[in-house]
């Protein structure tokens, strides 16, 4: 019951750049994690190199996407004016700053050790990048989001991992490790969840089946699409009348 049944809450003002960033930043963050895991195992130099490039490019694209969505883009640096742990967006802004700096440093710093240290920082912040956006929309007043506050970060993390595996595979990396992680992400995403049917299938059942039949690149494309669409669907769900 509300005043003349008008929606009590204001719909989100975020435009297309925000879910696009959720997708790019999440995937890039998870790629950085895979890159460091491969670097530690020391058995796949090409994958490590590819991962560092994808993470840095993803971080570079993420910034402008977020700046473009601001009502006052020229004031984007105000995001780093304060640090507020109680604000997921503040945590996210600082994480993206760290992720961007460390991902770029992991490519261009002189000396292998320095680059490895930077890559490790990039992976650490990448873990936050791939999951915090679930907290960002979960811990809000919008019922369509806050009812799922404790599952959205997991769903976003799993689909970011699926995207990360997909990006590396589409760059020509083929390994049991990637396939196993892709299977794991697809298996998790195929479990009953709260996402819309299309992205649920594209990030879950479809890539799962495709991988079982050895169609890794097709599975990769499906996972990427699912990961992108689910973020648009979730942000869109919050914009429906009253955010219900």
């Amino acid at each position: 019951m509300t005043y003349y049944d008008l929606p009590l809450l204001k719909p989100p003002v975020w435009t297309w750049e925000v879910p696009a960033y959720f997708f790019v930043g999440g995937a890039a963050g998870a790629v950085a994690v895979l890159g460091v895991a491969a670097r530690i195992a020391g058995n796949d130099e090409k994958l490590v190199r590819d991962a560092r490039w994808i993470a840095a490019i993803g971080a570079t694209v993420s910034g402008p996407l977020l700046v473009a969505d601001l009502g006052r883009p020229e004031r984007f640096l105000n995001m780093l004016r304060v640090f507020k742990p109680q604000s997921p967006m503040s945590v996210g802004a600082w994480t993206l700053a760290l992720f961007g700096a460390s991902s770029t440093a992991a490519l261009f710093l002189p000396g292998k050790t320095l680059r490895d240290v930077a890559a490790t920082l990039s992976a650490a912040s990448g873990l936050v990048m791939s999951t915090y956006t679930g907290v960002l929309i979960g811990a809000t007043s919008i019922p369509a989001w806050n009812r799922h506050a404790n599952t959205l970060p997991i769903h976003f993390g799993a689909s970011a991992l699926g995207s990360a595996v997909a990006l590396l595979e589409l760059r020509g990396n083929r390994s049991d490790a990637l396939n196993a992680l892709g299977l794991g992400a697809a298996l998790f995403e195929s479990l009953p969840g709260d996402s819309d049917a299309l992205s649920h299938a594209l990030s879950g059942t479809v890539p799962l089946v495709l991988r079982l039949f050895g169609k890794r690149k097709a599975a990769a494309v499906s996972s990427l699409l699912g990961s992108l669409i689910t973020r648009y669907a979730w942000v869109g769900a919050g914009k429906k009348k009253g955010g219900a």
Binding site: V13, F76, Q86, T140, A149, I154, A158, L181
Partner: protein
């Protein structure tokens, strides 16, 4: 040189809006617009009672609601041949635990020395996060400006020792402004008086028992507060942070561990 401001006795202030005294004149809306130089937010005919404004927003910081009721006989009631007409002037609630303030990543939204929640227009970069963390749908981003706006509690006037423009303009003292604790006592006395006079549907709305922790702008309405867009159990969204971050940490942990194990046993 001593500052003039430091010598002023500062108290936590509040709004007590008593709808039973409101005559629906909208002087508060006009005074707010005039004093704060708030632009219009469109002219259209809503068809909903005498209200073409419909709600608070980026360019409406006081909003008079017109709630039409079935006839109820009693103090303040009307002749049985008419339906009753309730007016209530809505405003930013200035929450004790304000979702928008906590969520604001730039620190633009602050708590003033008067206890109000204030958006610093020179800091706000229009990220829009306050819009989705307000439990009451009050604050919004002004499209042609890019920044978020809401009631300032007339911070400028309060600093000068004046009461907010809406309270000043209210001709019936339906909008009372003053020391928060004194207003709360006045509200308790008012509702006791109304109940004693037979207006048993008078209700005081101030969500002190929720995570919002009470509001600095509270209301006395007749009937169900939800009809006035005053939800019964508003929650500050920060209560969800713990479970949501826990889920994120679990997901991140599984991802990191999974990646390390997968590549440790990797075959190309």
């Amino acid at each position: 040189m001593t500052s003039a401001v430091s010598s002023v006795h500062v108290t936590t202030t509040g709004f007590f809006t008593d709808s039973t005294l409101c005559i629906g004149c909208k002087a508060c809306e006009v005074a707010c617009k005039e004093w704060n130089d708030v632009p219009h937010d469109g002219f259209f005919w809503s068809g909903l009672s005498y209200d073409n404004t419909l709600g608070l927003g980026h360019s409406t910081w006081r909003h008079v609601k017109f709630v039409e009721h079935e006839t109820k006989i009693g103090a303040g009631g009307n002749d049985a041949s008419y339906s009753t007409w309730q007016f209530s002037s809505d405003v930013c609630k200035h929450c004790e635990h304000a979702g928008c303030l906590e969520a604001c990543p730039t620190g633009s939204i602050i708590r003033t020395e008067f206890g109000g929640v204030y958006v610093q227009p020179d800091i706000c970069n229009g990220c829009g996060y306050c819009v989705v963390t307000c439990p009451f749908g009050v604050i919004d981003r002004r499209p042609d400006d890019g920044r978020a706006f809401k009631c300032t509690f007339c911070y400028d006037r309060q600093k000068a020792g004046e009461q907010p423009a809406c309270a000043k303009a209210c001709p019936t003292e339906s909008i009372l402004f003053g020391d928060l604790e004194q207003l709360e006592r006045a509200a308790d006395a008012r509702i006791a008086k109304l109940h004693a006079a037979g207006m048993t549907d008078a209700t005081l709305w101030n969500p002190k028992q929720t995570s919002v922790g009470g509001t600095h702008a509270f209301f006395l309405v007749r009937g169900d507060p939800r009809e006035y867009n005053l939800p019964l159990n508003p929650e500050a969204p920060q209560t969800l942070l713990k479970e949501s971050w826990s889920a994120a940490a679990a997901a991140a942990g599984v991802m990191a561990l999974g990646a390390l194990v997968a590549f440790a046993f990797n075959r190309r």
